[in-house]
Symmetry: C2
Subunit: 354 residues, 2 copies
Amino acid sequence: METRIERLLNLMEARSLDGFLVAETKNMLYFTGFSGGSMLLVLRDGESILFVYGVNYEAAKVETREASVELVKQEESLIKKVTDRLKTRKIRNLGFDSLAASTYLKLKESSDGVAFKDASDLVWTLRRVKDPSEISLMKKAAELTSRGMEKAAEIIEAGISEREVAAEIEYEMRKNGSDGVAFETIVSSGSNSAFPHGGCGDRVIKKGDLVVIDIGAKYRDYSSDLTRTFIIGKPSSKQFEIYETVRKAQELAVKTARAKVEAKEVDRVARDYISKAGYGEYFVHSLGHGVGLDVHEPPTLSPKSRDVLVEGNVVTIEPGIYIPGFGGVRIEDTVLILKEGVEKLTESPIQIYF
Amino acid sequence: METRIERLLNLMEARSLDGFLVAETKNMLYFTGFSGGSMLLVLRDGESILFVYGVNYEAAKVETREASVELVKQEESLIKKVTDRLKTRKIRNLGFDSLAASTYLKLKESSDGVAFKDASDLVWTLRRVKDPSEISLMKKAAELTSRGMEKAAEIIEAGISEREVAAEIEYEMRKNGSDGVAFETIVSSGSNSAFPHGGCGDRVIKKGDLVVIDIGAKYRDYSSDLTRTFIIGKPSSKQFEIYETVRKAQELAVKTARAKVEAKEVDRVARDYISKAGYGEYFVHSLGHGVGLDVHEPPTLSPKSRDVLVEGNVVTIEPGIYIPGFGGVRIEDTVLILKEGVEKLTESPIQIYF
């Protein structure tokens, strides 16, 4: 089987790039298995060099695959080491993934005659399709996340604070093998739930609250993403209507998603349903996003997306309705895109009374 | 008292900048109190605009201080909104903090005649000196971190896994008010402890192990950083020698740090002590770094640093010795720089037998 670097080399060739500079940590991890590198230079002839500072050098020697490790000493300049190599290897067209403007300018200045080309899409072409080893890690991350939500359902009640709920969820995931959270846990109650990124504070959950819980365990560098909304006590008719609208919109979108479908079409199905129910203006974000080493990555499921879903994508499907001053509902799962549909990686019952 | 934006305006004037584009999330948070903005444009006449997408718009209206909030609709381009404003306001010299190269190139292309200047140092001039409200939050973060280490000391013993120790530490910090971790918890035992960023895995701690525990609670967006090294059982004479060398180096550095001292001098004191003990080549990182909204920020305490410490800096002091195949020792505290010395924000006994 081709290595990930070999697959990048194929893509580079099609775009006439004779070198590729990887500067984004997650991308270095993807290609080399090591996350402590400072830059990775991939050359057309197949040589790859991971530049590493002393603090990570011993670990790099043990963990790095598919690239040689080169120490950057305290008195040396990383930029100079990279541009020297570009010169001796006569690199003319260099792709890069993601550089800070200041780094980009320094690199350009000290490498005469090299054309720098933003080619992050090449890396995403690879990363957006998960291979079996990645899928297995993502299933584990999703399983831990589902356990966290199970714990939330167990303990949530009037009188407990948002922060206490978050603490118990994170502890449950961690004890069972999670390496930490993929993003800051959201436990957002009452009128806070109307803010999609409502965070988590000291507010004490009350009877009648909507509570949006959005969590993700990380497992061996892979993320997961799951949201459920709880209603504390008997829902009001408006709460019930909003909840059911979001639930059905999510169900429809999940049924629509499969390989070869346009990502914007999946968004449209959910958005249309919510709009017809009269809540279109309150669905203020995209339907979903890819998940992997990053918790937000391509493809994007939004009205303007140009992505087409393919087998091996892992994406969230997460419609929501947020009514300022009243509260919000979001229901989200992480799903694996298959030829004929999806496999839900996260699993948590839809159960609204608590 | 001047607002943070007013203080930025003063610095801009001294450098003849008539606008400043803030693109880094933590910087937007620093100036406006809101972390969900996409870009913040500060204009010389005192007008400041925070551009926000729909998903965060309602929260932005509630939380943003010192800037007006402008919605970026799904069909609109953030870049265009910014460059239009540069045009109508006749901005000529625009400072910026941190832009991705691709964003930088797009902005340049669509804003004729505007000079873009990397001026992130202006923001760091402000952020590196903590004001009383920040110090109070950092004390709370440090206090929570110290409690986490207390829990570690309570539970660590042969037979417990690295991950279990991490789970208990994080749970302790979270229950007591932490908003999460400032960085991935390190519980690195046995020969893993020889890797400064050794992570935390399933390894079961054994008698005779060195265990490096490096943790940080986050509190209201502020970070903290504390490391202790534990020896499980009676230390060997080599373990004891390394431990004592690091302990004394840290003590000397802490005594050296104060306002008006060069950061590299504090590093030198610790490095010299470790070198004289014969372990210089095994101290493979800088002595310390600033802490604040970011866990790694200016000033830098390293041999090459040009920083001079000033009152109100919050920095780590963390010498270490790492011997491949044998293990490592690091001792770290977060300290507040005062006129006549430092105030330790983290507190944890130096106690090596467990």
